[in-house]
Symmetry: D2
Subunit: 398 residues, 4 copies
């Protein structure tokens, strides 16, 4: 596969030069003052991205899965009840993780393609008179279906039910790309990683922790050491780390935060929306539909494109890789074969997106789908032309 | 301008990761044996690309302009007569260089868009009964007009005229991308650089020198030191260099030659032709024409697209840069404003090309040209689909 | 601190150019065949370094602490008894981890500076008639004290006691630098990381798992998801990964294994021993002694240098960092202030080591310790001169 | 040779990480506004390093040799007389270049180890009643002998002789490392390159041109195109370049200038002096002497160490490379075999220098020279200890 083509998977995302440089550092002594100088600005920087003013940020040299695990093990005890909805592969996996850790998961379901159903959450919470449910889990952006759930609505449901459970949100494929409001939504644990909106290599799990979650930490009995918030909170404020940190990624995250602030956080969201909307217009021009059921749940980071019945969507992905050297995402779980996914997050331009759409068209035509060459590209061009501002400056590492 | 978008200028070209890594080396002692180990394989490697079996290769830490100058100053003397044709900005500049160095240039002319006229060369050579003409200069690929001249036909003209002049060829934007036959065409001096077909940063002038040119060197009186072949020929065979070499670019060239050999030289040419042909089909779908007058002179490395009369082609280039962060080439000299140029050489894929074509379409539409969005992309897709093999493997530096 | 000086901390180690390049890759699709091609050779490669022929290797995008946790949680159940010795900060931390995970740790003790006491292990195991002890934990190289324990002797003690417990070994700061014999020593779980002998950035926990440990996995009840062996074993053989892998580090590990094999594993060990021995001769010339009590426990990756009573060894480390821009390691836990540590593992040459020794001498002289300038350097030079072979070839990434 | 060891050649110098990153950029369009933004700040930046307020700076994608040639060909005509002194290999080579270009060189001589003799220059200039001498050439730092000449004294000699010749200075191995006063010394042409004090890869020739030299350009008849000042002066002010520029090196030079300004130009000179003085104390402790005849001509960028009669100094260099993987410089020309050279310029720390001195000691001892191990290191340590301030901050590219 040509390393010159961009990737169109829903993460890890294309890494800008500037971040490639920033991560590629010689070894420094992580017990020296130099480490603290790199580390300290990351806390307020990430908080700004999360729109979070209270609580703490913890960083683990790990992945989003570890972030899910850390959220759960640092705040809950074996046998605790949690409420979650399964409506895609990633919400499914978080539920599975809870079950492996001995939690009692009350599982709501929704169609793969729908958002997390606030009304069902509210009903379940109202039925829980004794407040046995200790945490509510929401997947902000279901990467498997291209669905963004309304976290604010879930918070409203919790408030309406006057339920004191913690609100845990998987923001791995949304944070840094789509609006996330930690404070406003009353999020208690927000999980993300380095390799999506932050445009970095895989290797950092990032968790935002509310004061309420910090309080829960004191009584949580699930065992943890590598992922223990307490060791982080005891050492981080002094520029320390409980074990060896991934220093290169911290340099990279510092630079990523600078890039985001230079572009402007709301501009970053707007850019993601604009590129995504072009993709959606292309899909429509192809005569196809999204897995996401309605515009209010359309994700701005990934589009899952339904293929005609009887056609295996995975073939598009395989052909793109083998014939054109381009990476798209396959359908997972319940929607395996029924769709293919176009990732459009992180460091991406409208012009790069045209090459992804153009490639998808070629693949679909190659495979006999009734898609007219250039049709989706033209629809996207039409939208991009009308909405383009000046491109962001080439921000060089220097 | 977004550093994530590829460039579509006719050089310098997009530098593959693998070559970026290869060039980026710590300082080594260029007087050590290590230098010789890097340097030695470059000579046979470049000869294979030139299809050259006799003579010598010299490398200067400089650019193609220096290559032109070295070809001339190492083989000619003040007042010597040379024959050349002006039919584009780069052929013009080489003529200008000769004049600055006190040569007597007999200038043929041809339309900008035509190739070097073999018949005119033959007539001039036949008229030169006393063989005052010491060298014939040909621009293999006129980067300004997207025209490839028939060097073999020029050689045939020289042979028909039984003329002993040296044949000097500017292959800066052709060598490594289009077929070049040093031996077969009886080339005496072939000039190229690192930043085009070799996909490297700017900074190496590379000159192939025939045995006949080496003989001419003995009597050439034009002054030169930095660009003196003799110092190179005296030191290179022992792994030495007359001054400080650009070691990083030599590492890079070694890796570039490996990449070319892995892909296969003929496959590299075929890839360039295929991508170029897609561009030409797009141009045709747009209802536009090339500056190149006929298919036999179409360049496979750059296409110069004529814009409608009264429209300033530079506006396409400016808008692409400012609105979309994409680089195309402007018209130069006689064709300034009359065209814009799409570079398609070096490390490029069909999918990357689609983004360039898509961007050009958006710009032309933005500027009110009667180009239908998606039309050129579709024409290119149609051709690319039909002709795609498996993409070359991602060849990583490791 | 000057980024041009090497670091002399006991890890992370200086990262060679070649590995810096190898890790610094553009994003690839980790679900593509390309990923499998990078991933597959790592398994036999790491096994060769571990001298391991049976069992499995698992790789987590995490650190050595996660490796400890994975070893324990994948093979044991809450309340299980384990036997370990506390004789340094890192053995202490592993014990602490076990206790946090609800294990019943029978803690032996030895002086900080001594190796793990095989006789005490044997006695404890013989006393455990009912085989309640499920695992024996050994720290192969105590990074805090510069002590290498005799894992083979622990195995012999277990065999003598005819005890069926699993043998878990922390090889984080030994594997890849000092001889490790997984098969011969009957190791069941060997833990290491990317940032020591493998000369890579932090971010990979690597665990070797014996068939016996794999069997224990089936009944282990400690909860784990991110660090679950089972998900790895279910996906890795098909080139898959249960979540997003740290692809750059896998490229890097592939290249690191190549570097180790090019130098020769035994040569790597010999180089570490030679550089370490020079350091020890310097320490002796300074009139100082090591924390390690006797030559049989001297570590070849880190030397902990005892400072005179009443002097705070941390001052050497602080001064080196502030005045000379050089990183050494401080004393930790029981030996805080009593020593400073010189790391000498990974990508290091004798000449680089001289600069570290020269810097330490300057610092000690600055702080009034009775150390003659040049004395330690001379002792090391004397040894290095006598034992030098040809330096390893500059192995460039190209 | 180990790529982890620093080099101790008198250039190219060790390239700091930050500059490695800065040079390693993707291709940009050199005809775009982005290029001008990178290019423009280089002119005032280099002027500050040269202590130059009037005149122009020109940059060629070439080396110092080209800089020499450009200085000569842009200001002189065939047959012009120039005055120069041969007292080392590099002053010799510049003389040779002039002769190749048809200039009439009046050659003064001085011992290899002496500076340029101001009195002899004055005598020659006074004897030149008709002002036939058009230029005086001085090598500020003779890299072959480690001798710094007093350019101010040459200017005084010219003034005393009331001679109107141009003053051309080779500052390749001094500028950016030792004080250079373009204005104060009345320099007309100052030549340097990227790979010494600017700590960059080889590939830029940099020439400072006084208003008087610019005037001379108008009448200069030596032919030149690649190295023509006029094309630069016609295009550079508008952000243009007459041919393809070496963009990566321009990015690098911008960052290099930032590094120099961050450290402070006078601090950079002081650091070079301090490191050099440590080397000189080591040489003295070894019982050896420098090629440079007296302290007033000691170079702060390179020390040429005389070896005992009958001993071949090249053996030290060869052994260092082969046995220890360290690069020193050999003797050249008249002093071949009589000395070896230690380069100590560019990005270097005192601690790095200790490893170079330690290596040199090992080599000399290996070869039977009566040098006590550690003696030179100790002398340098003693000086470095007494003179160390805080090390410069690790300035990372991010």
């Amino acid at each position: 596969m040509s390393s010159q083509n961009p990737v169109f998977i829903p993460g890890p995302t294309n890494i800008p030069e500037r971040l490639r440089h920033a991560c590629n550092v010689p070894t420094i002594d992580h017990r020296s003052a130099a480490f603290g100088e790199i580390f300290a600005p990351l806390f307020p920087g990430v908080k700004r991205v999360l729109k979070m003013t209270k609580g703490e940020i913890v960083f683990f040299p790990a992945t989003g899965t570890a972030g899910w695990e850390a959220a759960v093990t640092n705040t809950l005890s074996p046998g605790d009840k949690v409420l979650a909805c399964r409506h895609g592969m990633f919400s499914h996996r978080w539920i599975d993780l809870c079950q492996r850790h001995g939690l009692d998961v009350q599982v709501l379901t929704a169609p793969w393609g729908a958002g997390a159903p606030a009304a069902d959450f509210q009903a379940a919470l109202e039925a829980d008179k004794d407040h046995e449910i200790k945490a509510v889990l929401v997947t902000h952006n279901e990467t498997a279906t291209g669905v963004r759930s309304d976290v604010g609505a879930i918070r409203a449901a919790m408030d309406a039910a006057k339920h004191p459970a913690l609100l845990m949100v998987d923001g791995v494929s949304s944070i840094g790309s789509m609006d996330f409001r930690f404070d406003e939504w009353g999020v208690d644990l927000a999980v993300t990683g380095s390799q999506k909106g932050f445009m970095l290599p895989t290797g950092l799990a990032i968790v935002g922790v509310s004061p309420k979650a910090l309080a829960a930490m004191e009584t949580a009995k699930l065992p943890r050491t590598f992922l223990d918030f307490r060791d982080m909170l005891n050492t981080n404020p002094k520029g320390g780390y409980p074990y060896t940190p991934a220093v290169g990624l911290f340099y990279g995250l510092g630079e990523s935060l600078k890039m985001i602030e230079e572009e402007g956080l709301e501009n970053v969201f707007a850019r993601h929306h604009r590129i995504a909307e072009g993709v959606r217009r292309a899909v429509s021009a192809w005569g196809l539909s999204l897995c996401a059921q309605s515009p209010d749940v359309y994700s701005d980071t990934v589009s899952a494109v339904m293929v005609p019945k009887g056609f295996d969507g995975t073939r598009v992905v395989t052909l793109a890789a083998e014939k054109y050297g381009v990476a798209f995402g396959v359908g997972l779980g319940e929607v395996a074969g029924k769709l293919f996914r176009i990732g459009h997050l992180g460091s991406l331009t409208d012009v790069m997106m045209l090459s992804g759409l153009g490639c998808a068209e070629m693949c679909m035509a190659d495979l006999g789908l009734p898609v007219r060459l250039g049709s989706g590209v033209a629809a996207a061009q039409d939208y991009y032309r009308a909405t383009a501002g000046a491109p962001a400056e080439a921000a060089h590492a220097a």
